[in-house]
Amino acid sequence: MNVPLRHTTASLGLAVVDCDIHPAYRSPADLHPFLPARWREHMTTFGEHLRQGLSGQLAWPRMMASGMRLDAFPDQGPPGSDLDLMRTQHLDANGVEYGMLMQLSRGGMEERNLEFAAALSHAVNEWQLETFVKPEPRLRAGIVVPQEDAAFAVTEIEHRADDPRFVQILISPRSSDPLGHRRYWPIYEAAQRCNRPIALHVQGFSGGHASTASGWPTYYMQEHYAASSGMQNTLTSLVFEGVFERFPGLKVVLIEGGFAWAPALCWRMDKHWERMRKETPHLKRAPSEYVRAHCWFTTQPIEEPEKPAHLADIIGWIGWDRLMFSTDYPHWDFDHPQQVFKFPLTEEQKAQVFRGNAKALYGLT
């Protein structure tokens, strides 16, 4: 994966919308211009206050170079921090027509001091705009919100509501409560009002709970998949709490959590909902129908069956109109648009997955 590519996607004529690109700071000081003095000083003195035992590093070290493509390191700063390199190496080389920025760390999503979380989120959104989106019109920002305080989150969403460069609202599925809980509903109400999808991207930091129902995994191999198990739990919560019934205009994008599990989860939800439906009478339709109507999935890290065509069964069950291509640039498990599918797609399927579905969802022309 670190061998220089001989052919560029652009030269092969495939334009893509990449629904998962990770920008990065050169250093935390990059945020200082966007923070009030009080929080600048707080950040310098105390830093983030998260729910994990290690400061400034992840508890499951990644497999290579902190989880980055070795060829994605610029001369200075971490991968994703140099817009010029991102352009030449990814946006130009892979024919990226639009790229969705996914800001993960220091977003305020998991910060325990909620006022600091609000200030951080606001600063990160300003920083995305100034550093990436204004200079590079192919990129789109996501509104980072301090999700554990819905009032602060709604303020930030409303602040960005009239700016079309912010196309969605970023929320961590590693939340403090399952995301269907009522305490998060004001966020969904605001999302529906300003017509932005909720983007759930898997996260390395916990909202306060172990990664599995039996505690913490030992190896990164396990934690890597725990994100997908957790995404299933999050989707279950959104469905059974009646979020889609309450907010019929809400759209949710599930990012980097895998997608092949979705049909089996829907069958499982339908089966047990049918038996237990007296417990959730607020649901008016089968769980799978809410997922079909309200959810989109991104491709990376794409599942790879022994027989590649089996994946076509899965996508058929999900719906070809609900899958959106993503690379996860500049992370080590990047999926390349030319190699992501190991079975032949029709022209129509290609057009949907690589471009059309994302353009329709985000209102891009």
């Binding site: 399952p178 505690g215 190896y219 059974f240 089996a264 237990m276 599942e303 790879e304 498990d333």
Partner: protein, 372 residues
Amino acid sequence: MKVPYAGAIDCDIHPAMPSAAALLPYLDDYWRDQLVNRHIDRYSFILTSYPPGSPLSARPDWRQAGGAPGGDLADIRRQALDPFGSRLAICNMLHGAVALFNEDMAAALCSAVNDWVAKELLDREPRLRASILVPAHNPALAVKEIERMAGDTRFVQVLLLAMGEMLLGRRIYWPIYAAAETHRLAIGIHAGSSYHHAPTPSGWPAHRVEDYIAQSTAFESQLLSFLAEGVFHKFPGLKLVLIESGVTWLPTLLWRTSKTWRGVRPEVPWIDRPPTDIVRDHVRLTLQPVDAPKNDAEVLLRTLEHIGSDRMLLFSSDYPHWHFDGEDVLPNGFPGDAVRRLLIDNALDTYPRLREEVGGGNNKETKQEAVP
């Protein structure tokens, strides 16, 4: 659809739990005093995962006025054994002892449950087999219980809970697997939670149905734990049975895991072949609840093809839990050429004790010949 012929082996039934008072004769003086003086003998020890009134917990026609479903041996015969023509059925007792924090009390109650099962169920009905209930959160006590029960070959498996204290692949639990391998016992992980952790990595769902759906993700985590920690490498004779886990989540988990493994091999060098192959050799899943669409046989067939093996599924009714009606314990469209493996062969391959002559029980009169 119905079971097409007699002789099936039902790998998951749930006789009703004995009351704590009924366990008193099986406890020593100290624990009898503890239970009586502290009124513990009045508690139900029902796991939160299976509330008695919930539709999932028992089929309406298997409920009876005044008694717990599966609480009477005559009912078990009439409802769980005869209708499906089962030659054998494995009793999995989901007793709340395993959710106690006091490890010694948990161990004493597990022992009492096992002895009660031997005397009240196995001695009286030769078609019944059982799993050994153990206090998994104290592996030393768990091993002691396995050793104590191992001589009774009607016990064919060690029973663990899907959502417990720690992920079960961890080395602290390995003495349990060593004992199981030595005594030709399978390891069975059954759905259910001690609720020592939140059922999801984002906390506590509001509804019971969400908890039940989350069982399949707990099984995913356990399976990955067994793989990543190298349990099957260390114990090549071990069989792991996922009970009441659902089955349709399995293939896509394996696709993803075998892909990830290619990227993370240096972290787990003891995994020396694709995880999919390891799982096909060592892991079995019980049938009910079948989480495929009820009226779409094509989906089931495709999913079975995705699993890529006809040796992994074990027949189960999950009696008295309510997953199907009438005698239609098999999903519609289950391929005929795989039925015999599902009903009989796979269980015999998973539980070597089912092929052995029964021995070690207390009641000599009910001894029977080994299953051919």
